[in-house]
Amino acid sequence: MRMALNEGEQIPELRVTPDKYLPHRYAGASGDFNPIHIDDEFAKMVGLPRNILHGLYSMGLVAKANAAIADGDPRALKRLSVQMRGMGVPEQEIVVTGTVKSSDGGRVVVDTVAAQGETALIKNAEAELEV
């Protein structure tokens, strides 16, 4: 089932709490083994609060939240542009929310944000979908 979305409507909220070992699994899946993501001691040594999530993981959640409006069809998402801002950490809930900016025929543009508490991880995310 595909949703009929009008300007100003919200996409279904996505809530995910990445567990302690998520950054390790994402590192394996993506090939990005930067130690700031998988080595807590190293991360603290370079001044981070702890090992942090991959920005592209958070972007992946933004893509997933948007694909949901096309019932997860991987063909629907045509473009996704994001800014990575705050640092995401494991073991804290991520909330992805989105508002339809325009809906023209089958072309939907969604403004999306991914946040952990008060920290925005992904800002100014614009997703363009064909639904």
Partner: protein, 146 residues
């Protein structure tokens, strides 16, 4: 040392990535994406794909190997240790399916200094074995303290 902004990086022949079912499944599992088209070949074929299909952001998996030489090229002089990933865009065309061979080329679009930071913008262009456009990526890397 002033930021080197005149590097023109037109890339190399490109790196080729062979897409496989298990890798797609591993990526989908990490993101908690349970649509069977990413896990099961029959479900993927029933939905009109030639094989298990990758989620769009799998573009990271097949295109980032082509970014490494650009970032590390001495000509670009990018201070990798002070780098953060500031922005990313992907635009998708043909879906990436298991069995595809995707070749990605990279070029440096711009290097600018702003507010004491270096902004490096690279573009990756990924095409499959049939020459069809799969994804185009724009990568904004920010280097602090230049």
């Amino acid at each position: 040392m002033p930021l080197k902004t005149d590097a023109v990086w037109e890339g190399m022949a490109g790196s080729t990535y062979q897409v496989g079912r298990e890798k797609i499944k591993e990526y989908a599992n990490a993101l908690g994406i349970d649509n069977p088209v990413h896990h099961d070949v029959e479900a993927a074929r029933a939905a009109g794909f030639r094989d298990v299909v990758a989620p769009p952001m799998f573009a990271v998996v097949y295109s980032s190997p082509a970014m490494a030489p650009a970032i590390l090229d001495p000509e670009v002089e990018l201070n990798f240790a002070a780098m953060v990933h500031g922005g990313q865009e992907f635009a998708w065309d043909e879906p990436a399916c298991s069995g595809d061979e995707i070749t990605t080329s990279t070029r440096c679009l711009s290097i600018e200094e702003k507010d004491g930071k270096g902004f490096y913008v690279f573009e990756t262009n990924s095409v499959n074995q049939d020459g069809a456009q799969v994804a185009r990526g724009t990568w904004t890397l920010i280097v602090r303290g230049v």
